[in-house]
Symmetry: D2
Subunit: 349 residues, 4 copies
């Protein structure tokens, strides 16, 4: 990304690494709609930034204080790599995405170059990297770095109790993982909102019991009919600022609206107070970022290796070779109707 709406190859030096860091090269990468969103200025202007934050990488070199990794190790790289020395990460029961300030643990794109490069660096390697287990496929492992971590976080935020009825707005890759997360955390009935046929099929496979499309009538009315009234919680994994109103109107008191969508910086929530019980509804509104770090990735990998879920199914546009990254990016940007997620596999030999 050179500037807003202008992407292409940049020539840059190999990143410097500190004593706790690792230098890596990508073995497999996936393109995220936040990459494309950013390239269009969705989070404000940016210049000469290398995009990409979902990767499996090979360790090339490690800093002198790195103890647990060595060149040649094939590792899962979380998209969110906290600097574990940040003091606010010591706060008990907090999302580690915000070490040192809001979203400051998300280093790629915002504080340094991303992973769509011949080399990229990972801070605090011992704390953030995870060796790819042999019994987990590249596709499954790659999808833990952001999609599964973010989608599952949407379900965690929703505070699902056993047997709850949960709505998931959006059946793109994050929404699909939110569905899988809701099922993994005890949801009874899951109602997903979306229209793309192959996403709908995968939504059912990941645990959705009903798929609601805006094309078939008012979404809130359809949900109400299926649920027999209001629902216990709603996860927003797509849509725009007005989706918040739909969510608030269908969640019960003592329920949660859990957002994991990345709203455009130009949008505004416009919520009449009566939609939120004049402030006394006891409907909690939460919105969070993908948690990172090696411990979380290990946990997600433990779900996969014990056959609870297979997020790799999201990857249905696959490319071979470093030079195909622009094709994968273009696919994610133009979103052909059957695309769920695009990825590129790179053999450096």
């Amino acid at each position: 990304m050179f500037e807003i709406n202008k992407v292409g190859w940049l020539e840059k030096d190999i990143p410097e690494i500190g004593p706790l860091d690792a230098l890596m090269r990508p073995v497999a990468v996936a393109v995220c709609s936040s990459d494309t969103h950013m390239s269009h200025g969705g989070s404000g202007p940016a210049f000469n930034v290398i995009l990409g934050h979902e990767a499996i990488g090979e360790v090339v070199r490690v800093g002198e204080l790195v103890k647990n990794f060595k060149p040649g190790d094939i590792c899962v790289v979380p998209c969110c790599t906290p600097d574990w020395g940040e003091r606010d990460l010591q706060m008990r029961d907090s999302n580690n995405a915000h070490g040192g300030g809001m979203m400051r643990s998300f280093k790629f794109l915002t504080q340094k170059d991303g992973v769509f490069a011949e080399f990229f660096s990972v801070n605090n390697a011992d704390s953030n990297l995870v060796l790819k287990p042999d019994n987990v496929s590249i596709d499954d492992a790659l999808m833990t770095t952001d999609m599964m971590s973010t989608g599952f976080y949407g379900a965690e935020q929703a505070n699902i109790q056993i047997g709850d009825t949960v709505v998931v707005f959006g059946i793109g890759p994050v929404g699909l993982m939110a569905i899988a997360g809701a099922r993994s955390l005890g949801a009874g009935k899951i109602i997903a909102i979306g229209t793309r046929p192959n996403c709908a099929e995968l939504a059912r496979e990941y645990g959705a019991n009903h798929i609601v499309s805006y094309k078939e009538g008012d979404v809130v009315e359809q949900i109400t009919a299926i649920a027999g009234g209001k629902v216990d919680s709603a996860i927003i994994a797509g849509g725009n600022a007005s989706t918040m109103l739909q969510a608030l109107s269908i969640v019960k008191s003592n329920g949660v609206v859990s957002n994991i969508n990345y709203f455009d910086a130009s949008e505004t929530f416009t919520i009449p107070t009566f939609m939120w019980g004049l402030g006394m509804s006891d409907i909690s509104i939460k919105g969070g970022f993908c948690p990172g770090g090696g411990y979380r990735i290990e946990r997600l990998l433990n779900m996969i290796s014990n056959d609870r879920v297979h997020p790799g199914k999201l990857l249905n546009y696959k490319y071979e070779g470093f030079e195909k990254i622009p094709d994968a990016f273009k696919a994610m940007d133009e979103k052909p109707r059957d695309l769920i997620k695009s990825g590129v596999y790179i053999n450096w030999d």
Copy 2:
């Protein structure tokens, strides 16, 4: 209340009571700004409703299934009296204010007549009433029914951890109780926002370390200077829909904005997405209603009788005699500069 903006004495029959209910007459009542707010249509139109929901009462008659109370008992009456047969009250870890639907446990004013009457009824008497303990003053006991329960709920919602820095917007009676609640739940520094001198003095007594006034400059800048940056949580106990923006702008990621304010039905929250980290800030927005029931009142009385807090200090406009209720109502409605809370003591002999 005859209709919007028209209040006065209504003649009505003595309420019928069911087998689980009690008929009571008021011994002491307090006027709440939600009474005056409602009288001006703040929660929509209403006709021929008896106002009032904060009372100490004497039991006059009990239904045939009531076991624990008898005529003559002097009881604390929570403003929120759930019907404990409602199935959603069985949900673990929920606010009981919403049994049978949003705010449905708040029966006075909305589902039946209030306590500014010669007689009023209390549903599920065994579950909702509490004998006034001898070692708790009428004033302290009266303030548990709504002010202390609501203010403390604001602090509970804020998920305060030991040593947190907390902002409380508003130093009216609910804000003052939110301050006392924040101190009771482990807050370190408490910064209160308000201007009335006698409220500010009481705010300090209840635990505020700093009082910030909008008259002395931008509120957010003043808070930032005092806190040395952002704060851990904010409790909104006053202001209007725009106060939400101030709160969102000063709370850290992983913090809570806890609302207990009663917004006007005509207002709208207008929140640019970037004020909430594009949806990924991990700042939780909560807003709830006063929890009710006898168990909670007992707990609040236990705080008082063990000398943790004395909410009765809020009552600084006091009247004697049933016929003085309109005077107390007028005081609360017109809010003279030194008024905090008005109450009426009634001797039926």
Copy 3:
């Protein structure tokens, strides 16, 4: 049960019902090892008590204040039927099994006669009964009343986080449901301890990844080898007081030992302090009873009707006819090697 170790048919009057209660007759019942345990004096002496607490029943008559049920309704009857007027049930975030004192919500067997009778009564019918949904089988519905509720509670108590490794001691019906519960709440790897072949097979179907038998060596060593060290939490659903020591020795700091086993009143836990880090291990020890009430049963039924789990598979010894209850009881008491759970279906026509 006439007295300890003496069971048979008792002649008793039809139970009286109060205004909130229902009189029912059993349509399907299951025998629980707590019934047989009690018959041998496991919870102390008892005389002339009708056993049985797992039932689907038909409403015969309702008290005058019951609004939601009528004669002929086929209902799921939770084994634990709280009196929702009890004040301590108003405590936020508590297990409803203890309304009015420890385990006082468990009325059958201890406070009144059980369900192995032509007629039995259910207190607080509107709050405790649930209409059996058409799309849930009798077997599945019957298993929610105790087995699924108890087993899932073991998993809830264990505070499982996404991807955790969890051990379940015991693969009897409660252990099997604890396995299903752990999977439903996000466990990654589940290691189950037990020996019976058909239980082991069902354990795998419900989500166990590994089955460990004491016959093949030291249980703790086997678990350690499979988990690669200590585990995140352990659920005790079988064994005796010494099982607690095994659990304490394999759970990590910040983990939970969650007991749902019914220990014999004659046993004693003998725990050297160093097994619990001299008191500073941060391993929580919890032990709880099956939560009850209609809301919980509805949630469990929502899991079933949305195809998350099918607890009815536990019932592998099935009998037809009221007079077969002693046969089912005998089976549960003598535990033939292939028995998991015995049940009786009753047609009153």
Copy 4:
């Protein structure tokens, strides 16, 4: 400490420090009963270890990667100094005392020499040290390092709800801080168990409403009489393994027994199953270690500087000069009847 029951001055080299560490010398130290306990072999044998883990220190030298501290800084040193690179510290909502294994964040005494020395080292200085604020006294600051952090943790573990009745076993320095912590977290009535008169006086000042002595009769009976039945939670901050039985017998279902006592390695808990409801009581048994790190210390200091509590009052045996450490140690070891806590102030000029 040379070996069990043999203490004196050891000659050792100045500790080496790593790139993230700091070398410090003590400005003020306090003696803990875990120091004396260890010297008598309470946690097993040990040889040639320098004791001491409560200190305010001056930075002498810092490792090359330390950014926030420099020689001459006067800092509060938490007794528990996690290595923040340990992966299990990334677990959400866990006590940081166990990074890398049970109690492994407690480095002094067990993994390296303590603070009763001319020089001592602190690992991960940027994460663990806190500059002593000017508006906090040395005494107050020194008491945050272990006593206040541990005592307050006892209250946090107890999951106190507003208005709860709480028992604290023990009124030594940790018990006194548990009392202050229980009050700071919302306890209504606090009942403390102990006999020493000056401790009892301070217990009342920190928030105890009743003091119960075993000399005046059965402790459980006295508590029951004061509380009017069972209590909501109990904190064990003294006594021996049998204290657990007293605690279990007076806590309600859905309550917590919270241990912060350091039991002798030779003791055994002997708990008849019926004391714990045959395993189904829903009384949680927790026991944990002092959490550490700079963030927690900052929070405790925020309590002090905002006048919520003053733990420095514990220090009633004060000495001047490095050479007085043995006197302070002897005082703590022999425990004269009026001793609460002993400390030494050191001026290196």
